[in-house]
């Protein structure tokens, strides 16, 4: 990995409600211009790790009890989520969470105001998003609540991209989506990495798809990292399969 990673986590430990240990000894890195995957079964600690990075664990009675999260070389253990968004670190939550009663375009716009852009900048930004997701342009006036699951996931990702991020934390982008749509979304992720300099940390259960688009992957099991490596290495070792199926 490159010398100065975008995000670097050292030995973090997250505790909910002061007594429930969710993850421990998690260390990982995301280099600039890369897609990194967090793989693992339900309850392995993927979402907790992402929420620890974005600062959302604090809202769920969790705390980072140990370790250090560095983003752009700066410790952000206690940064508020909105400050991180301003610094270019944005999370897309699991289960999409679109604003149901706003139109697709209004949803996207809500993500764009963080840097107080000019009208022209905002419109250019909107055009970019429609460039990545041509599907959204066709339904831009529809209420987000009435669009399909795949479209809502695109709205959620597009809304995050409106803030012009350097790093996007994606939680289960494939959840409940048809394989074709999943493929489409990962293609867009790849395109963003290759051509627009956006990095991704993706938590996924669908390891097969994720690994095809991933530069580096970490396998989580019971709150700790059980394996890590390039997609090829993960595919070859039995660790991933074991973490899903048990030993």
């Amino acid at each position: 990995m490159s010398a100065t990673p975008l995000l670097s986590i050292k030995n973090i430990e997250v505790i909910y409600e002061q007594v429930i240990l969710a993850v421990k000894n998690i260390s990982l890195e995301v280099a600039a211009n890369s897609v990194v995957s967090l793989l693992g079964a339900n309850g392995s600690g993927k979402s907790t790790t992402l929420k620890a990075i974005s600062g959302l664990v604090h809202a769920q009675r969790g705390e980072i009890a140990d370790g250090q999260i560095e983003y752009l070389g700066e410790v952000v253990n206690h940064s508020a989520p909105h400050r991180l968004v301003k610094q270019g670190l944005v999370q897309v939550l699991e289960g999409r969470h679109c604003f149901q009663h706003l139109s697709v375009e209004e949803n996207l716009l809500t993500g764009g105001y963080i840097h107080r852009p000019s009208k022209a900048k905002l419109n250019a930004q909107l055009d970019n998003i429609y460039g990545y997701f041509p599907r959204l342009k066709k339904i831009r006036k529809s209420l987000a609540g009435y669009t399909s699951g795949g479209e809502q996931q695109m709205v959620a990702i597009g809304r995050a991209l409106m803030s012009d991020p350097k790093l996007v934390l994606l939680d289960e982008p494939s959840m409940g989506l048809a394989p074709q749509i999943v493929e489409e979304i990962f293609e867009i992720i790849k395109n963003l990495r290759d051509n627009h300099g956006v990095s991704f940390l993706v938590a996924e259960q669908n390891a097969a798809v994720a690994l095809r688009y991933t530069d580096y992957a970490y396998v989580l099991e019971n709150g700790t990292i059980s394996d890590e490596g390039t997609a090829q290495k993960i595919n070859q070792s039995g660790e991933l399969l074991a973490s899903y199926l048990g030993r």
């Binding site: 505790i15 409600e17 007594v19 429930i20 240990l21 421990k24 309850g43 019971n222 709150g223």
Partner: protein, 358 residues
């Protein structure tokens, strides 16, 4: 180390489903009951009974009533005091107009009438949700107070609608002394409290929580939402009705409709917010906070500041401090005092270790 379950093996569902699963909790509860029934009447004085313990118990019971509706079934209400008034005035009239009706039976019937009133004002909740239900209960609040003020029949034609407690004879015992009134209140609140703790973990209680958390999901697994909501209104109002009777007869002795105004409803709402929504223990903690804290503060204020500030300012100052404390508590622990207690016991169970690992 004292408070842990090591060595307590549960081998039957019956044992698993007990109210207090941990032996330490059971012992603690029995000790608490014993001291409330034996030690307190023996040591307490009239001031404590009349001014602190009785209102604390009655407000805890009222909190339980509102908690069924708001904390468990998720229906907001600002009509608690109205249902208390219905309970008190009904019990008064049953006792007055039915010759030889025992006092306890009058209170019970008062609760039943309050429950039925609750069902009527709960009907709009079948069609409307959230804050709009609040409006219907607000209507109950103003309507009930208006009825009792304007129709003198309800207060036996007394001036300004004041009703007076009937003789507090229970099974031939005269319980009109402060200690007697305390024991009467304590007995009723303990019985209804145990009933409440069992209701909320019964099928009905789980249905309430299902409707609260996601009513659509509740409907698709076959929970009859209208029935569930109306039962919440009925049982909630029944508890509030009993609390109203106790408020009128064992705490105040005489009460007028104005005593059950919207401020009382707010007070009960604050009790469950501070104590903890969806918790039986929370009602007691919230009521203790609401009753004890002002007393404590006025003692402190009178001791320290009486020469410094004039009494009017002092009283307002106490209200400001009280309000700030409520806000402070809710920022620190949005789920109420019961949640602080729960976190504390969880930590105690793993102590001296730091946490549970899965």
């Amino acid at each position: 180390m004292l408070y842990r379950e090591a060595g307590q093996f549960i081998t039957h569902y019956r044992a698993d489903q007990r109210l207090f699963r941990l032996r330490q909790d059971r012992i603690g509860f029995y000790l608490l009951l014993a001291s409330a029934f034996v030690l307190v009447p023996y040591c307490g004085n009239d001031y404590w009974f009349s001014a602190i313990l009785i209102p604390f118990l009655v407000l805890s019971l009222a909190g339980m009533g509102l908690n069924f509706l708001t904390g468990y079934a998720g229906q907001l209400s600002l009509g608690s005091a109205a249902f208390m008034a219905v309970g008190a005035f009904s019990a008064y009239n049953f006792n007055l107009r039915v010759e030889g009706l025992p006092f306890l039976l009058s209170i019970l019937l008062g609760g039943v009438v309050a429950g039925l009133t609750g069902v009527i004002f709960g009907l709009p909740s079948l069609k409307i949700k959230g804050f709009y239900v609040l409006v219907s209960t607000l209507a109950a609040q103003f309507f009930v107070q208006w009825v009792f003020t304007n129709f003198a029949w309800f207060s036996n034609d007394s001036s300004s609608g004041v009703i007076t407690a009937p003789p507090l004879d229970v099974f031939g015992l005269d319980l009109s002394s402060p200690a007697g009134r305390y024991l009467l209140t304590l007995t009723i609140v303990t019985a209804l409290g145990l009933l409440a703790a069992n209701i909320v973990r019964s099928e009905l209680g789980r249905n309430w929580m299902a409707v609260r958390d996601m009513d659509t999901a509740a409907a698709v697994i076959g929970i009859a939402i209208p029935k569930t909501k109306l039962l919440a209104f009925a049982i909630s109002s029944f508890y509030l009705g009993i609390a109203g009777s106790l408020w009128a007869f064992t705490y105040l002795g005489t009460v007028e409709p104005h005593g059950f105004d919207i401020n009382r409803s707010f007070q009960i709402l604050f009790i469950i917010i501070i104590g903890g929504m969806g918790s039986i223990l929370g009602n007691f903690l919230g009521a203790a906070f609401i009753v004890l804290f002002p007393v404590l503060m006025s003692h402190i204020a009178n001791g320290l500041l009486v020469g410094v500030m004039d009494s009017g300012h002092l009283e307002n100052f106490q209200k400001i401090v009280f309000g700030m404390l409520i806000i402070g508590f809710l920022i620190k622990e949005p789920n109420g005092l019961a949640s602080i207690w729960q976190t504390f016991t969880q930590q105690l169970r793993v102590w001296p270790l730091r946490y549970w690992s899965h």
